[in-house]
Each structure stands twice: as C-alpha cells, then as structure tokens.
C-alpha cells in the first residue's frame, strides 16, 4: 500500500515536471504551428543558470534557492524571447524551416553545454528540506515531489488566469482557434508570439531547475531526454489546450510509473510511446479535439 502511494505521488510529481515543459510547447505549437525542438535547451539553460548562481548566493541563507529558481526562470524567458525575435520571426510562415532552425538550435545548445561544463552530470546543491521526506499513509515521500506538484499547480492557475481573464490571453486563445480570423479583425497576433515563447522558456527553465532538484544533478542532455515525453504529452493533450496538456501530463506520467513498477522496468516507457501512436491514429487531433 505504502509503495503504491509512493508510486502515485512520484507519478504526479513526474507529471508536474512534464506539464512544466509541455505547457510552453503546447501554446507555441497551438499559436504558431512551430514544433519547438529547442525547448529542451531552454530547460537545460535554466538548470545550469541556477546551478551557476547558487554558490554566489550562500549569504542569503534560506532565500538562496528561490532566488536561484528566479534566475533560472529569467534566463529561460530571455532565451525564449530572443530565439523567437532573432531566429523564428524572420522565417515567418515557413513552418518547416522554423522547425529545422529549432532542431539546429537544440543540437548546438547541447554541444555548447557539453563544451562549457563537460559531459558528466554535476551534483545540484539542493536545499536541505527537499531531501527530507514527509510521511503520508505510511509512505515516506521525498519533499521534492511536492515542490514539483506545487510549482506545476501554480503555473496551471497562472496560465488559466492569464488566458481567461486578460486581453492578451483572449488574443492568444483566439489565435490558437483561428489565427487568420484574429488578424482579419485588425489585431496583430505576432506580438503575442514573443510573449508565448518567453512564458514557455520560463516554464521550461522552472522545470529544469526543479527537475535538477528531483534528479540531484544537472547534465547537458537532461532537457532533450525529457523533450520526447513532453512531445507525447502535447500530442495526447491536444495542441494549444492547457487543460488537455495538464491531464495528459498526469496520464502519461502515471501510466509510465505504474507500468514500470508493477510490470517490467522499461515497459512503462514503451507503453507511453505506443499510447502516443494509438492516440494519433485513432484521434489525429488529440484527446481534446483541436486540430494538430
């Protein structure tokens, strides 16, 4: 029983991590039809930024970790915005070229991180409280899971508020629905592109920092490894739908964790990947029914 609780909460924590990465990907694809292969690089950049500044923040005591998270997020947001402004925007409406550029960026980023910090993982300075455990129903749950779940919950609430209750959110939602129509109404959708990239970059970077706390280390390939699962989440959840992405992240992570634990190690990963193929073949638009 206690092991089931541990697996379930770890699964939800993993789902939270997937959501942090996938939410940005989903919005970017929904709005701009760009499958962003550089998203893993945003994540890794955020993780390394937090890792680099943490030793300088030792004077802040308990505040060092939140500040490091913030630095990581700002880094991710800046990189996301710059990538959109400098690299994606000039290739407006040439989707294949835009995807190719993000593929190139993703490859370059991993190589650059390897060049600067070496190919091996570095231990991440975790705050002491994240390494302790909390007992729920007889299961000792490491606190980093709750950190992930809390962060993803806040992001979900923030995004829903932004999308439902602000003018810019209205434009983003309308743009996902029908971009041509929004432009025909005299609204420049392109101005929201940079914002969406910045939000996606910040969310991915947050996922990168918290993922490093969860894994206990930073490494050049950690973003790319997670990116494939984020793609799966986005496709299953339906492009451009935040609610769908959140549900899909939970489903994917729980299926993966449960199958890996109860059936055979590795079978969870395979089943999730095959779930993607099945969903696409049965409902090409994803579970929430938006066009892919």
């Amino acid at each position: 029983m206690s092991s089931l609780i541990l697996i379930l909460i770890t699964g939800v924590g993993l789902g939270a991590l997937y959501f942090l990465i996938a939410s940005g990907l989903s919005l970017i694809y929904g709005l701009m039809h760009v499958l962003n292969f550089a998203h893993g690089a945003f994540l890794t950049a955020g993780a390394y930024a937090a890792w680099v500044v943490t030793p300088q923040l030792s004077g802040l005591g308990g505040w060092a970790f939140p500040v490091a998270v913030l630095v990581g997020m700002v880094t991710g947001a800046l990189i996301g915005a710059l990538v959109e402004l400098l690299l994606i925007r000039p290739l407006y409406r040439r989707h294949i070229e835009q995807v190719l550029v993000t593929v190139g960026l993703g490859l370059m980023a991993v190589a650059l991180f390897t060049g600067i910090w070496g190919p091996d993982p570095h231990p991440f300075p975790r705050p002491a409280w994240t390494t302790r455990t909390t007992t729920i129903g007889g299961a000792a749950i490491p606190n980093d899971r709750f950190l992930l779940i809390g962060a993803a919950g806040l992001l979900l609430i923030g995004l829903v508020l932004l999308l439902r209750h602000t003018r810019i959110g209205l434009i983003i939602r309308a743009g996902v629905e029908n971009r041509t129509m929004v432009q025909a109404l005299g609204i420049d959708v392109r101005r929201t592109f940079t914002l969406v990239f910045a939000i996606g970059g910040a969310a991915a970077a947050l996922g990168g920092v918290l993922g490093s706390v969860y894994l206990g280390s930073v490494s050049p390939g950690q973003g790319t490894a997670l990116l494939i699962y984020a793609f799966i989440v986005v496709v299953i959840g339906g492009f451009g739908s935040i609610g769908g992405t959140a549900i899909a992240a939970l489903v994917v992570a729980l299926v993966q964790q449960l199958a890996n634990y109860y059936l055979y190690s590795g079978i969870g990963d395979v089943s999730v990947v095959l779930l993607l193929a099945a969903v696409l073949l049965i409902k090409p638009a994803g579970l929430t029914g938006r066009t892919a």
Binding site: I96, V99, L107, G266, A292
Partner: protein, 375 residues
C-alpha cells in the same frame, strides 16, 4: 504570353524535379563528371597521396579508407532519408529505426544464432521490406506533424526496448559486437580495409542509381506531386497514400541495408543507430547538402561525417588549445559547428550546398552571355 508559358513550364519542371533533357554539353557533363568521380573513388585504394587536414593519413591507409567508407555509407543512408523528406515531402523522425533494424538483425543473426552471412543478408532484406511496409502502412494514416510523431513513437519504442536488453539479446547500452568469424575473410581485419571501402562504395552507388531511376520514373513524378500538393494528386485520381507508402518502403529498405553495411564497417551495432539523434543528424545532412536534389544528400552525408571526424581531431590539437575560451569551447564541439552551419544554410542558402554550385554557375553563365551580347 510566351513569358507566362515559360513561367508555367519552369514551375512544372521545378515541381516535378524533372530536368529538361538536353543533348548539349550540360547533359554530357552531368554524366561524365559523376563517372569520373566514380572511377577515381574505385581506384582510390591504389593511390598513395595524402590530403593533409582532410584525411588522417595517406588515402590508401586503413584509417583513411575506414573514414571514407563511413562517409560513403552515411551518404547512402542520408539519400535514403531524402527519398522521404526531399522527394516526397514526408518529415519522419523515425528513420533511425530502419538503420538500427538492419544493423541489429544482422548482428543478432551472426552473433547470437551463429548463422552464416547468407542467412544474415536474407534476414536484412526481409526486415528491410517488411518493417517499412508495416510502419509506413500504419503511420501514413496521418499527415504532417502527426506522421512525424507516430514515426518517432515507433522508433523510440524499439530504441527503449533494445536499451533494456530483453533476454540478453541486444546487449543493452553496450550494443552487440560483430561476430567476424561468420563473415567472409575479405571483410574482416585491418589489411582488408579496401574491401570494406568498396562495399560501402557499392552501397552508395546502388542508392544513387536506384533513387535516380525512381525519381526520373513515374514513381518520382508521383512523389514530387505529393510533395507539392497532395490534395491535387487525390483529385487527379491518383493514390497519394500509395505513392507515400512506396517512398517509405524504398527509403526504409535502403536505410536498413545501410545499417547492415555500417555494422560491417564499424564492427558492431550500438543503440545510437536507433536513436532520434541519428534521425536528426540525417535531417541536418540532407538540408546541408540540399534536400530533393540529386547529389545534395550524398554531399551532405559525406561532408557531415568528414567534418564530425576532423573537428573532433582538431579539438584535441594545439592550435585550438591556445585560442581564447570563447572560441575554443564552440570549436571543440563538432556538433556545435555542424548545427551552426545547418542554421546558416537554412537562412542564407535554401537548397543547400548543391544549390550553391548551381547558383554560382547560373551567375557565371549570365555573365558570359552578357559579355557575348555586349558589342
């Protein structure tokens, strides 16, 4: 009126990828230059000159021939990917599945079952036809990004399974080493590097001939039509699905064969052959060289391997070590340089290296005609 007609003809030529078959010097040059290059490549193992900086030793040293063989087999695999990407307009993220399947099925047959080379070749041929047929038939039910994702899913599923080493069959992360005792003696050992080089050359030539032939035939016109406008193909009463399936089978078959040849050259099958990184690097090669063109993927594939290998060598040399960190770190990572080159090509040289030479020639020709027209 003639202008409009010419424009339409040009557009049709560009769309179908068919060149006007002239009988002039251009046509002869298009046959003679590749033939000359081929003859040079065939006789390379007898030539002893060295190209400093490009090859590790004299051209006919085992090290150089090994690298050249790798270039040729990768060029063939890149061309097999371009059958999907450049000629039919299918973005697949699962091509590594076929390459890995070719390498692993042969390695398992030779190493685990102790089968002979004949059985291994038959197995590779069977896998090379059935696997793309199955994967293609299923994944082509969806289009665009969804197709890319389904192919990615299939490739990932197999890659994860192979990494887990089910029943000790695939060797997990270590991969499988090639059981050379089952190979013909000519294909193993350092002294026999020329034979492995010729094998790779034969594979590359086979890919070029098959793909050129299919591209010029009705099949190729159907592929080009699907790439340009799939709905129109359907309206004309042709089956776009069938054309695309054929492209996946041809590309997959050549990819599987390439995986098998690669196994013989590098002496083992490893999980990298099944990875998404391999598919992405194929995409980089094809775009770098010029997707959809006759020689682009070949040039891109060979250049990628050569640059990757040489930059690796360069990164440990003293010239690089003395540079400031801002230059030294990026230059010591071959993938960084290749990625940068790739992005530059996407921006500034659409059509890749193959198109650059064409553009230079066009400019040259127009200058010559200008001069001739001037009084």
């Amino acid at each position: 009126m003639t202008n409009l007609g010419q424009t339409l003809t040009d557009r049709a030529v560009a769309a179908t990828g068919s060149q006007r078959r002239g009988t002039g010097p251009g046509r002869i040059r298009a046959v003679l230059i590749p033939l000359a290059v081929l003859v040079l490549l065939i006789f390379l193992p007898w030539l002893g000159f060295s190209i400093p900086g490009v090859l590790p030793g004299p051209v006919n040293s085992p090290g150089s021939l090994q690298l050249l063989a790798l270039c040729l087999v990768t060029a063939g695999i890149a061309l097999s990917y371009d059958v999907l990407f450049g000629r039919t307009g299918l973005l697949s993220f699962g091509h590594a599945l076929f390459v890995g399947a070719g390498a692993y099925s042969a390695a398992i047959a030779l190493g685990r079952w102790g089968a002979g080379i004949g059985v291994a070749v038959l197995l590779v041929l069977a896998v090379g036809i059935t696997l793309p047929l199955i994967v293609g038939a299923i994944s082509l039910r969806v289009k665009g990004i969804a197709f890319a994702m389904v192919t990615l899913a299939f490739a990932q599923a197999v890659a994860i399974t192979v990494l887990r080493n089910p029943g000790g069959l695939t060797g997990g992360e270590e991969g499988l080493s090639l059981n050379r005792s089952r190979l013909p003696a000519l294909l193993s050992g350092v002294v026999n590097a020329p034979y492995r080089y010729w094998l790779a050359l034969a594979f590359c030539v086979f890919c070029v001939l098959l793909v050129s032939w299919l591209t010029a035939a009705r099949t190729g016109h159907a592929w080009a039509a699907v790439r340009e406008n799939e709905a129109r193909v359907e309206v004309l009463g042709l089956s776009a699905y069938r054309a695309k399936l054929l492209a996946v089978v041809v590309g997959g078959f050549l990819g599987t064969l390439g995986g098998f040849i690669q196994l013989i050259i590098i002496g083992g099958a490893n999980p990298h052959l099944l990875s998404t990184e391999l598919t992405l690097s194929l995409l980089v090669m094809v775009v770098l060289g010029g997707s959809g063109s006759r020689w682009g993927p070949i040039i891109g594939g060979a250049l990628y391997v050569l640059l990757d290998n040489r930059l690796q060598e360069l990164s440990t040399s003293s010239t690089i070590a003395e540079l400031p960190a801002a230059l030294r770190i990026p230059l010591s990572q071959p993938v960084f340089v290749l990625g940068l080159l790739f992005i530059l090509v996407v921006y500034f040289a659409p059509g890749g290296i193959a198109a650059i030479s064409g553009r230079v020639r066009a400019r040259w020709n127009s200058r010559v005609t200008d001069k001739a027209a001037a009084p």
